[in-house]
Symmetry: D2
Subunit: 342 residues, 4 copies
Amino acid sequence: MIKIGIVGGTGYTGVELIRLLAKHPQAKLTAITSRKEDGMPVAEMFPSLRGWVDLAFSDPAHADLKQCDVVFFATPNGIAMSQARELLDAGVRVVDLAADYRIKDIATWEKWYGMQHATPELVAEAVYGLPEVNREQIRGARLVANPGCYPTAVQLGFLPLVEKGLVDVNHLIADAKSGVSGAGRKAEVHSLLAEAGDNFKAYGVAGHRHLPEISQGLGNIAGKPVGLTFVPHLTPMIRGIHATLYARLNADVDLQLLYQQRYADEPFVDVLPAGSHPETRSVRGANVCRIAVHRPQGGDTVVVLSAIDNLVKGAAGQAVQNMNIMFDLDEGLGLDVVPLLP
Amino acid sequence: MIKIGIVGGTGYTGVELIRLLAKHPQAKLTAITSRKEDGMPVAEMFPSLRGWVDLAFSDPAHADLKQCDVVFFATPNGIAMSQARELLDAGVRVVDLAADYRIKDIATWEKWYGMQHATPELVAEAVYGLPEVNREQIRGARLVANPGCYPTAVQLGFLPLVEKGLVDVNHLIADAKSGVSGAGRKAEVHSLLAEAGDNFKAYGVAGHRHLPEISQGLGNIAGKPVGLTFVPHLTPMIRGIHATLYARLNADVDLQLLYQQRYADEPFVDVLPAGSHPETRSVRGANVCRIAVHRPQGGDTVVVLSAIDNLVKGAAGQAVQNMNIMFDLDEGLGLDVVPLLP
Amino acid sequence: MIKIGIVGGTGYTGVELIRLLAKHPQAKLTAITSRKEDGMPVAEMFPSLRGWVDLAFSDPAHADLKQCDVVFFATPNGIAMSQARELLDAGVRVVDLAADYRIKDIATWEKWYGMQHATPELVAEAVYGLPEVNREQIRGARLVANPGCYPTAVQLGFLPLVEKGLVDVNHLIADAKSGVSGAGRKAEVHSLLAEAGDNFKAYGVAGHRHLPEISQGLGNIAGKPVGLTFVPHLTPMIRGIHATLYARLNADVDLQLLYQQRYADEPFVDVLPAGSHPETRSVRGANVCRIAVHRPQGGDTVVVLSAIDNLVKGAAGQAVQNMNIMFDLDEGLGLDVVPLLP
Amino acid sequence: MIKIGIVGGTGYTGVELIRLLAKHPQAKLTAITSRKEDGMPVAEMFPSLRGWVDLAFSDPAHADLKQCDVVFFATPNGIAMSQARELLDAGVRVVDLAADYRIKDIATWEKWYGMQHATPELVAEAVYGLPEVNREQIRGARLVANPGCYPTAVQLGFLPLVEKGLVDVNHLIADAKSGVSGAGRKAEVHSLLAEAGDNFKAYGVAGHRHLPEISQGLGNIAGKPVGLTFVPHLTPMIRGIHATLYARLNADVDLQLLYQQRYADEPFVDVLPAGSHPETRSVRGANVCRIAVHRPQGGDTVVVLSAIDNLVKGAAGQAVQNMNIMFDLDEGLGLDVVPLLP
């Protein structure tokens, strides 16, 4: 059994990790930390876990995370970068669900995240945990930077096109829509039901932190810098991201076949039949990205629709997938959840 | 492996049965019928099931349901009563998720359901499938009448009080609130998002079909007729029932202890700590009824809060639980789903 | 023109007052205060008001509220009680939308609100602003305590029965459901869309601050103390309260006629035809309470359904109605809003 | 007073027309037809209108629509085209809220709408009722084709750019999101709360009926054919459209100034300050289009955000605006509604 530590278990990615790991046949939840909730049974804060989890939150100062085989950081940005070094030195592997190790260029990271990086030397070592791109590097990684939710949906959607050089990568457009759990379990006015309910809006059009992450990833795939317009939106639902992607084709290609072949062996990417429209609820609670590709009116604009559950394939599920790869387990262990519909 | 037939697989209780049975280690989905959708792959109608279910819907006329070990009717009222006889005669056991066999008094049933009963002789044989009350009878049953969603939440909530004769059973009040999936996957104006969204209303105050079912069940428990005021409401959410129950105490009793003892051995009833308020989301997707009991201001009115997922403990989950009991399996097989929160 | 001051314009009752008063033909918004947002144009915080309101928020320290004819407090509890005296002394009339002056018994108020009352001598003078009960006293009032949202819905629902002594007032039950705007525009985790959305729960069953307010009001109407069980619930919508009321009849009476006659001359109470079920959306945005009365199965339990928009008839609309009465204007001035449906 | 007839008063655009016209100082609702609901008081079907509308629905066969000054068709496509001729001949002016007269090319219309046009000769006469483009022609029109909801949001968003030739019109992209009331008050499974709630999806990517309408409109503005990729999405809210528009700039220009100048005199288009993100709730219930224009990272891609209430500026409100223009009334008469927020 793999001994698991979770730093920051009171947020949505934390509780989602617990939901998945509680049933993982090779995982043993060993410590779940929370500074504020030290001593409170996890299932008292999240009654959905009654009968599934007996642990209480423990103060990070006292939790012996070094006894774990792997520690997940389900924390705000800036926490993992201060604590990863010590864990790694103790032989503990680390998966960071926040953004601390996602961006290779330190200056870029510091600009977008507004803080000085505490362990820049680890950034180079960290493996970006998108298995569909980096599976082999993940296998041996000590430190995995788990991708952001938008970046997962957008990169998986563009991947086959960009990889083959089939589109103008200087003018990619990603119009993405997220449910409100993407904002985290933080008390903020704009995330109230009375504010975000029955409402739709774009935000961060001038610049969003996931822009450099996506650009970096697509640039690596393309082998050259890409130009991306990324517009995130808030939609009045709890879970789910739907990315609608636009690019200009520079070659004629059977798009359906391209996508099916690229993802034929991927257990967690599902290419829908031609003409489909993936719904976010079709992935609710499950670690899967469903994709459809369209070429409206046979023109030169390709439209890709990519849907994930932001908390699963966009966060905790992908983290478990990465853990499975890191520990040479069946990649789908603990991830056999049938989506909840309706 | 138990060979399973589902009659009427296109509604919400049908797809929910499929979701649960797709992962049940002892169940083999053998036939899923739909008159309208004959030939359509189940996972085409419900993309959430892609990768989980390979079957196509089959016309009930051609599906060889008699080869099944058990057939679930996830149909509108009035279907099971016409088809159960033939299946039972062929040795197939039947679980009806509709109301055909729930009410013992034929005249009462015919009045509330507005049709003549096709097989009244089977009504007497049918076992009301509320395991917390009838577990032993279910074990040997050929024909199980799976309880309604409101009746499950209300009966489990009142059960300890009524069983012990602690309340005035002539004046019970059940104020129940349901998500819209309780109305089924039927195209009706009043269930549209634009009608039922951001809205709250009572309905059927003059009389609802679940009233005689609940009254019969509580009457059996009390050993005498009960008087019940039942007011159902529609609340703008997808899944979940919350029943708020009121009764006048006629004796002093430790209510918390009463409930905890009554349900101590019940795997799917969870009595919350004193002072709690169960949320419907804490049971989302799971086969559990969470209950809290209150006595505000120490008065003589007891208030019970009872929450279930109407599609699981209120329908498909309870049906699987009944099947497990009928076939001497572990009662929780296939029902080990962690609720989805948020 | 009546010069209007609003203390605390950034919450939901504040912005709702502004919405209504912006179109009131006899009102002139003169000052809208906010400690935090001093200088920010009101329409910048609430873009829905662009083109309707030119004022900026002003610091309460600098706003000359004494030049106003009336000041509304749309503040948390405990603010109005410290500031009302000075305004009243300056000849300004005051409407408090918070709870400071609603409860006549100081000890009771201090117990439920957890603070010492700053101006107990004004409590006696304050008129409880439920026009359907206290219209004449409101007319001459200097200081009006605007009722709470639940208390408005519950009192108007019980009023005809209690007034005539037709029910057992020792065992009244009010099962009330509120949209989340009732919790105010406060950053709190439990009001997030990701927490309160697609979810239903009761809260405060052991005791809610509106209990003593309702009990006082119904006790005054009955002429003797009443016993009330009050269970509030949170429902996943933005606006609206639906109260389902239960009482034991002690006399035979034509309930429909009783309600119609009692409210025949009330401009803002609408008794629906027999057999109706008021929906909260039928009052969305409007200052009206819609009521239906039922006697299920002809038994001795009466069921009253009462629906309001918590921000209008349950707060800002009733406050404007009170202002109209206080200033001898047509009671409906500024309140001629057609509910928004769908 | 203008005598008003509404054909098809039971749908969402119909009830929205009634909501607005009930308070219009120069309008007198004279006949509201419904084949199915003949004789039913309008306020019985829509209790929100109790106290505002006394009319009953009348059978179109008996309603004397020819006595009206103007008749609105709030009907499915294909109705107005059969009835407009007779009304026009009788001197009645007509506003069609459906699509019958929106597209000038008959073959295109017949292809997208799947029926033969009954009165092609009227198509040429009909004026496309987008006041910001066609105000003068509307003034004298007998027959106005009221624009679709998506087309209104998209055209107003692109208008200043296309009009001035500042973008590559061969590759316009409109990513549009609509609340479910856009689908009308029709009993359809995909619009159920249990289907469309807590869910997000694109639809009609291969081709949507509003595509030719938008292309025609933008083509007229550009003076040449345009290439448009239009992807509509369904978002789980009741009212509101948010269009996110993308185009490639071919010139340097002060975008903020461009938009402010273009719409300076438009009463119902509101250009937000630079850096803004319009929310759909900021226009809820009101006849206004709020627009923000962005140029992310100073690149050559312009992003326009355009928000309307699909039932108001996208349907009934714009129809009333057109009526006001047609009858030489103040353009804003009856449209002075403050948006409902929250």
